[in-house]
């Protein structure tokens, strides 16, 4: 793996800070109805996406989840086009068709957020297989939550990756809950990484609030995959500081104790990591903060200025090859 450079260390912070601030703006914009629909914020989990994606190359692939903003930003997604997509604008990544749960940028290897829990895992396996067949040493990382470890297709995907030694890293973001359901009740396992051995691959559990730890473990898994030694499973222990989605407050449900939330907040990577950077004199985080602010300011402005798509575009682009009468109109 080698030592991390100063630039890399600062880069981790820039990514984490970008995710945190991006999400905070999303919450504001959702509450103001500038972003319609549901957004699942990644606040608290920044170290996971950052640690993993910084272990990847630009030509590597990720598949993401309903809680995808962090993964996409960490894989160098453009905040402008993301924000525009969230606002349903035609300059958005998906030309307004996808919104939060479907953002993709194939050129950056971002094979899409996904609205279906677990569904991205086999797609990542396919990308990995393609890399292998084309004689490239590309790797695919599949992100998914603790809840997803009980979804059949994900378990099937683990097995496929193992028997075909696909260069995949399965990244389990264990934030303790699937909406209101505690993973303690939904799984008999103490460490979800223990499921890995049943699928013939190494499993590690790592502190998902520590970007350096995540990056180190992910880098090992990526190197293993790249070397042709097959898949790995990395469980990252993390926590979301916010509700399952922006609108959770309105539901009036409570499934986590204030103490639990407070305990995890003590380990906020957006507090601990910049403190560490400052202490070591690696950089002045405030500088990065200012840069990030400018980028996000511009992203929001770009999104706001962009036009909405024309209604009739809704029937375009469903098929790569189209035919008369396709897709059928509803009238």
């Amino acid at each position: 793996m080698g030592e991390l450079t100063r630039d890399q260390l600062v880069g981790f912070y820039r990514t984490m800070r970008t995710i945190r601030r991006f999400e905070q703006r999303v919450v504001e914009l959702v509450n103001r109805n500038d972003i319609p629909g549901a957004a699942h914020e990644y606040v608290g989990e920044e170290a996971v996406a950052t640690g993993v994606c910084h272990a990847l190359r630009p030509d590597d692939v990720i598949t993401s989840t309903h809680r995808g903003h962090g993964h996409i930003l960490a894989k160098s997604g453009d905040p402008r086009r993301m924000m525009a997509e969230l606002m349903g604008k035609s300059s958005g990544y998906n030309r307004g068709r996808g919104g939060s749960m479907h953002i993709a940028d194939l050129r950056l290897g971002i094979f899409g957020a996904n609205g279906i829990v677990g569904a991205g895992a086999p797609i990542a396996c396919g990308a990995a297989m393609a890399a292998k067949l084309k004689g490239r040493d590309g790797v695919a990382a599949a992100f998914f939550g603790d809840g997803a470890t009980n979804q059949g297709v994900l378990l099937e995907a683990l097995n496929l990756a193992a028997i075909w030694k696909l260069p995949v890293v399965f990244v389990c973001e264990n934030n303790g809950y699937a909406i209101s359901a505690s993973i303690r009740e939904m799984s008999p396992l103490h460490h979800l990484a223990d499921r890995a051995s049943a699928f013939g691959m190494p499993g590690d559990t790592v502190d998902g609030m520590d970007v350096l730890a995540v990056n180190e473990t992910a880098s090992r898994a990526v190197a293993r995959a790249r070397a042709g030694d097959g898949p790995s499973f990395v469980e990252c222990l993390t926590y979301r500081f916010v509700g399952h989605f922006t609108a959770e407050k309105a539901l009036g449900i409570k499934y986590r104790s204030d103490e639990e939330i407070e305990e995890w907040r003590q380990r906020d990577p957006l507090v601990t990591y910049p403190a560490w950077l400052r202490e070591r004199g690696i950089c002045d985080p405030a500088r990065v903060d200012a840069e990030v602010e400018a980028v996000l300011e511009e992203a929001v402005a770009f999104a706001r200025q962009s036009p909405l798509p024309a209604a009739e575009e809704a029937l375009d682009g469903m098929y790569a090859t189209t035919y008369p009468g396709l897709p059928a109109r509803g009238w």
Binding site: N94, G96, G99, H102, L251, P309
Partner: protein, 326 residues
């Protein structure tokens, strides 16, 4: 009669059936905290042995409900969105729905599936906006979609008592609507359509969230001198074909206003039904206003373009009448 909200009426129905029959249990994601609102307070009244938060394993908990039903329970299974049917599809349509027949009529499978916020809400995009009832109907699964609080309670209760698998779809757009609901125990039987508005010139068959839209459209048409009858099938399978055909025979004009995809959708079935069995009476082609056959897009102008709209319904109704007058 007292007026309550649709979702509250559903909840009343569920609680009443659980009091009535100890074999009714509830399974689904986040049902204890009741993210969807249907099951709020259920643990308090019935205790943890009758309500189960499931892992994100839709196929398995659907199958579990089948086995429990065959063994004498009467499970109610909640799915958070239509798309969850996709991952549970084999267990739904190839197991629960088929087993009794394949076993030669042995046993019963009294499972009620409920999607408490069914269909499109605003801006949830391609995987959270589907309305999949044609897939279920094609596979023979009993399916109801109540559109008033009264029917919501009555059909939900009827579904729970039914000895077969029944899917109950509660359109997201209607959950907060209020309406009169009788006191005390009642059921709305499966297989009976509701004439939501009487009329003489034109029959609009409207489904689920589109029923209120159709009623508004009917007012507009009335102002234009067209008397539209609006029929709410509410029970899609079994279907009350007679009430639909009778209306078509009376008016001679039919426009279908359906919330599913177009190709092989529910409106296609109805059009085929009318073209076959109301042939003599029809005085204009049967028109379908449906969703376009694309995933529901996120951005509002795109979404509105793809979903069936009152404006398109009105155009179709006018064209349908004009066709004859010309």
């Amino acid at each position: 009669m007292r007026e309550i909200r649709y979702l509250e009426a559903m909840r009343e129905g569920l609680f009443e059936e659980m009091r009535r029959d100890p074999s009714v249990i509830v399974l689904g994601e986040d049902v204890r905290h009741s993210v969807r609102g249907l099951t709020k307070g259920i643990v308090g009244e019935f205790g943890p042995a009758r309500i189960y938060d499931t892992p994100i394993s839709e196929a398995a908990f659907t199958g579990l409900a089948t086995g429990a039903a065959l063994a004498g329970m009467r499970p109610v299974v909640e799915y958070q969105i239509n798309a969850l049917l996709f991952v549970a599809f084999d267990q739904l349509v190839d197991q629960a729905q088929k087993l009794r027949y394949m076993m030669g009529g042995q046993g019963t499978i009294p499972v009620t599936y409920v999607i408490t916020a069914s269909g499109a809400r605003r801006a949830l995009a391609g995987q959270h906006s589907d309305h999949l009832y044609p897939l279920l109907l094609h596979m023979g699964m009993k399916t109801v979609m109540p559109t008033t609080p009264e029917d919501a309670k009555g059909l939900f209760k009827a579904a729970i008592r039914e000895d077969d698998p029944v899917m109950v779809l509660s359109p997201a757009a209607l959950l907060a609507t209020k309406g009169p609901v009788p006191d005390g125990d009642y059921v709305t039987p499966l297989g009976r359509a509701r004439v939501a508005r009487e009329g003489t010139d034109l029959t609009i068959v409207a489904v689920g969230p589109l029923v209120p839209e159709a009623l508004v459209a009917a007012e507009t048409l009335a102002a234009e001198g067209i008397s539209a009858e609006v029929i709410d099938p509410r029970s899609l399978l079994p279907l009350d074909a007679e009430t639909l055909l009778e209306s078509a025979r009376k008016t001679g004009h039919v426009v279908l206003f359906d919330d599913s995809n177009r190709t092989c959708g529910f409106a296609a079935e109805l059009a085929a039904l009318f073209a076959d069995r109301a042939w003599e009476a029809l005085r204009a082609p049967v028109r379908r206003i449906t969703r376009a056959d694309v995933p529901v897009p996120f951005s509002t102008p795109l979404e509105s373009y793809v979903l069936p709209s009152r404006e398109r319904l009105l155009d179709a109704c006018r064209a349908c009448r004009a066709a004859v007058q010309a």
